[in-house]
């Protein structure tokens, strides 16, 4: 599939805008026994974890989740039913990948979103690769336990 050469197309961004908050709320409440505490400013700390999930379909793109390490540890502990101290960095990263995967899946496969999609594998971005992909079609930040969770959705139209 050919994609336009740039990221950041704002097509259908209004649809994504209205889906981000319910996606995060549903996933956190159902699988992490947590919830967003309200909107927040993005946390640009470079020690944050960042995960990218590519998707392709009528509209293709990627969803990125950026989360503070302390929040990631706390959510991973809830998800796995383990104590925070017992978790390895690798387990925490895998849980953030699952979080991103579920939020992305929830958004792109909603009836009335942009049709049929294939999801790629979530990828944990190394700090040197944590550059913005362009202007996100939609971006929202949420205050969560111990920190901030930012969801950015980049889209590009199939040529």
């Amino acid at each position: 599939m050919k994609l336009k050469k740039y990221w950041g197309c704002r097509m259908h961004s209004h649809n994504f805008d209205r889906l981000l908050a319910p996606a995060v709320t549903t996933v956190l409440e159902t699988m992490f026994f947590s919830e967003p505490l309200g909107p927040s400013d993005p946390d640009t700390n470079t020690t944050n974890l960042q995960v990218r999930v590519p998707f392709s379909g009528e509209v293709s793109g990627a969803l990125e989740i950026r989360i503070s390490k302390s929040t990631a540890r706390s959510l991973a502990a809830s998800f796995l039913g383990e104590s925070e101290e017992s978790l390895s960095e690798s387990q925490i990263a895998q849980v953030v990948c699952e979080l991103a995967n579920m939020v992305c899946g929830w958004i792109v496969s909603k009836p009335g979103s942009q049709g049929c999609f294939d999801l790629g594998s979530p990828e944990l971005l190394a700090p040197e690769n944590q550059r913005p992909m362009g202007i996100p079609a939609s971006q929202q930040s949420f205050a969560v336990e111990n920190g901030t969770l930012t969801v950015s959705l980049y889209s590009s139209v199939a040529a």
Binding site: M31, F79, N101, C104, W106
Partner: protein, 128 residues
């Protein structure tokens, strides 16, 4: 009757999570086994007695779709019920997997009750 359950997912933390959710459902479980992809799952099914398979779709080497297809084409294995557990909640994907031979389909995120209901529906009897 205690169920032997095979959990197929390339994410180790998702396999742990699924095992814990199964425990929360109160379903009687005899033994858990795990596989990281469809190929490993087929190998396990040829070596061990399994009553139920929970499988992801997106996996390396052999994905869940191909796994269900191969299971269906194997006379010895085709009666083992498979429930797909996926982030894809689209109607099209669900119908496609059920048509290939999966007996059930659960979209993530889901509650333990959803898993329990789907297992009981697929196995045809309540497992108290």
């Amino acid at each position: 009757m205690a169920l032997n359950i095979l959990i197929v997912d390339d994410s180790p933390v998702m396999r742990v999570f699924l095992r814990k959710v199964v425990q929360l459902t109160g379903l009687p479980v005899g033994e858990y086994c795990e596989a990281g992809d469809g190929e490993a799952a087929l190998k396990t099914l040829r070596e061990r007695w399994v009553d139920l398979v929970l499988t992801d779709i997106n996996m390396p080497r052999m994905n869940g779709e191909e796994f269900v297809r191969q299971l269906e084409s194997d006379e010895l294995l085709r009666d083992i019920p498979v429930i797909v557990v996926s982030t894809d909640s689209s109607h099209g994907r669900r119908e496609h997997l059920l048509k290939l031979g999966a007996r059930g389909y659960i979209s993530k995120p889901f509650l333990p009750e959803t898993l329990r209901d789907e297992v009981e529906k697929v196995l045809g009897v309540p497992h108290a």
